[in-house]
């Protein structure tokens, strides 16, 4: 069994209440930082842990914290990113639902480290039930003296508020989130200035994912060095993986970074294999934005090494044959799934969610959706396939925020690895609307390096 740091007590009845959470050792990290540590010590501990942002980009949390500007006379803000809208990702919702105090405790520890006296948890508006749960948890913590003025007599004050979004994936992007929290449309800002210098209300701001913030609790309790012993290389600690799609046991799993993809997919401890005795066709390993990989490439790298659940191993091979850990949204596709349809579905999502500020993203996502729709419904041309690649290249790298890239990568990677399936949709339009292409060669033994690297 892998070690559990975030979900250790998830099955304890009543763990969502302050009382039970406290009985199980909750709020010890707050006591420790307020009684025995300086804010700098906390930042140092998080640096030592090697924790990397769990929201998708994987940026080292301790380093991000040390960039926070500290000008005289200006408040600093910590904003927790609970927008969780990346298709395939549902771990933050799970954590907030079942063990809300883990996030509240992490918010207190992190706010202390950053010198923030007012902090916000921005939660997507659809998660109104979770917003209510967090508000209740905050009230409980406040009642017990862990929030408010002069917490535990330390002189540290903290007010914590939950802010609802309104239904917009783009508000997960940190500057769009800040705009939204200011009561505006979620249009990402042009960087620089970075939020660390000028964020919420033009004050220095740190935005961190729910899981990153919750992870500071075990880091403080056990020490950064202990945390860093878990995992593999620069992928330290544990990670929540949201597993969905055609699996026997979809759900949220806490893994020690470094377990193999094969173990994660097939072992009883985790996903328990592909549902209905089917075979695996493809996996999106880190949320809809990361490149999709065929079964053979997700299980092993082109060098025939087992693929591991780490930032590095999943990225092995670059975009030619690798992918990314992203937010840990792990979607499994069985042999009956249509890659063209899935790609169209994702491109509709990105078109729908583009904020519309940059023409390549606004127009390009719409164009990709349209072309993919006609391919899926049997009206495509062979030249459409290259057209899609061309459009995706013109979006990538040419936009204000990474949503443009996130929209381009799933399309480019689907064509890179499943081109024959796209072509089959064009050459067999009748058949393509009535049946799926099937597994083809995607689960064959590994292709040779030169074949993969070409695209």
């Amino acid at each position: 069994m892998g070690r559990k740091l975030l979900l250790e007590h998830i099955n304890v009845p009543g763990i969502n209440t302050f009382e039970v959470y406290r009985q199980k050792g909750g709020y010890r990290a707050v006591e420790k930082v307020l009684r025995a540590m300086s804010p700098e010590d906390v930042v140092e501990e998080v640096k030592k842990s090697g924790l990397r942002g769990r929201g998708g980009a994987g940026f080292p949390t301790g380093m991000k914290w040390s960039f926070l500007a500290k000008p005289e006379g200006k408040p600093r803000y910590l904003v927790c990113n609970g927008d969780e809208s990346e298709p395939g990702t549902f771990k933050d919702r799970y954590l907030m639902t079942h063990i809300p105090h883990a996030l509240i405790e992490g918010m207190i520890v992190s706010s202390f480290a950053l010198g923030a006296n007012t902090s916000y948890i921005y939660v997507r508006g659809e998660m109104m039930p979770q917003i209510r749960i967090l508000e209740k948890a905050i009230a409980e913590a406040k009642n017990a003296g862990f929030l408010g003025k002069n917490i535990l007599g330390s002189g540290f004050d903290l007010e914590l508020y939950v802010q609802p979004g309104g239904g917009a994936y783009i508000c997960g992007e940190e500057t769009a989130l800040i705009e939204s929290l200011e009561g505006k449309r979620g249009n990402p800002r042009i960087k620089p200035p970075f939020p660390a210098i000028s964020g919420l209300y033009n004050c220095p701001t740190v935005v961190n994912n729910v899981e990153s913030i919750a992870a500071t609790v075990p880091i403080i309790n056990d020490g950064g060095e202990e945390y860093a012993k878990i995992g593999l290389g620069r992928s330290t600690g544990t990670k929540l993986i949201s597993a969905s799609g055609n699996l026997n046991k979809p759900g949220v799993y806490e893994i020690e970074l470094g377990v193999s993809v094969e173990e994660f997919l097939y072992s009883e401890e985790y996903c328990g294999g592909i549902a209905n005795g089917k075979r695996l066709k493809a996996v999106v390993a880190g949320g809809s934005s990361v490149p999709i990989l065929p079964a053979n490439l997700i299980l092993k790298t082109v060098n025939n090494e087992p693929r591991l659940m780490t930032y590095e191993s999943l990225a092995d091979g670059g975009f030619a044959s690798g992918t990314m850990l992203g937010s840990g949204g792990f979607i499994a596709y069985d042999e009956d799934q249509c890659i063209v349809r899935n790609t169209w579905n994702f491109s509709r999502f990105y078109h729908h969610e583009s904020c519309g500020q940059c023409s390549p993203c606004r127009e390009g996502t719409g164009w990709m959706e349209k072309v993919l729709h006609r391919l899926e419904y049997g009206h495509g041309k062979l030249s459409d396939i290259d057209l899609l690649v061309d459009v995706s290249k013109k979006i990538e790298g040419n936009t204000i925020c990474p949503l443009g890239d996130a929209a381009a990568w799933p399309v480019a990677s689907a064509i890179r690895h499943f081109r024959d399936e796209f072509e089959w949709h064009v050459t067999n339009p009748q058949e393509a609307v009535s049946r799926n292409y099937g597994l083809a060669h995607y689960a064959d033994p590994l292709p040779k390096l030169e074949n993969v690297a070409a695209s």
Binding site: S85, P87, M127, Q163, G186, Y201, V252, R341, E353
Partner: protein
């Protein structure tokens, strides 16, 4: 739920205003515009949708220009800018839900309610629409219903039947949250 037209003047109840006041207190002096999204959610919960007169009143209350409210209300997909059914079934249509039956579920709901996406049933009770990923992919297919946005997970036809029938009878079970 109150029904209002798009021309009638809206008067917020004292209870609603006191909820607004609580929200505004969360932000620094002069940053009351931050309350816009939570306030619009409360308005929609009260009236079922967000009308132009209601938006104007919100602008008054927050001391911002009406356009600042319109541009936000039109940007965020959760806000209804026209009247909907009392219960709006919002069904996730994105990838992970789609590959385990969301498309079929939407067809089934359409047929069961007898209205197209976005329309309202004759009795005024129901609307439905497809929405993007609701962050419940492991419990797919899934739908939710405002104003409390309860999630209904691992859907199948029998569960949809049961849900719609129970809403008709207004005997909705306690929200299940997973």
């Amino acid at each position: 739920m109150l029904k209002i037209s798009d021309t009638e003047e809206v008067i917020f109840s004292p209870e609603l205003i006191s909820k607004f006041n609580e929200i505004v207190a969360r932000y620094p002096e002069g940053k009351q515009k931050s309350a816009l999204l939570p306030v619009l959610h409360l308005v929609q919960a009260e009236y079922g949708w967000v009308s132009t007169p209601a938006m104007n009143k919100v602008a008054d209350y927050l001391d911002i220009k009406p356009i600042e409210v319109y541009e936000v209300a039109t940007f965020y997909t959760m806000f209804f800018l026209e009247p909907k059914g009392k219960y709006v079934l919002e069904v996730c249509r994105t990838g992970p839900c789609s590959i385990v039956g969301a498309d079929k579920m939407m067809k089934y709901i359409e047929q069961k309610l007898g209205v197209k996406e976005g329309e309202v049933t004759e009795d005024g009770l129901f609307s439905w629409r497809g929405v993007e990923c609701l962050a419940a992919c492991g419990m797919a297919p899934v739908l939710q219903i405002g104003p409390d946005y309860t999630y209904y997970e691992n859907l199948n036809e029998a569960k949809v039947d049961e849900l719609i029938d129970s809403l008709r009878l207004k005997t909705v079970e306690k929200p299940q949250i997973n």
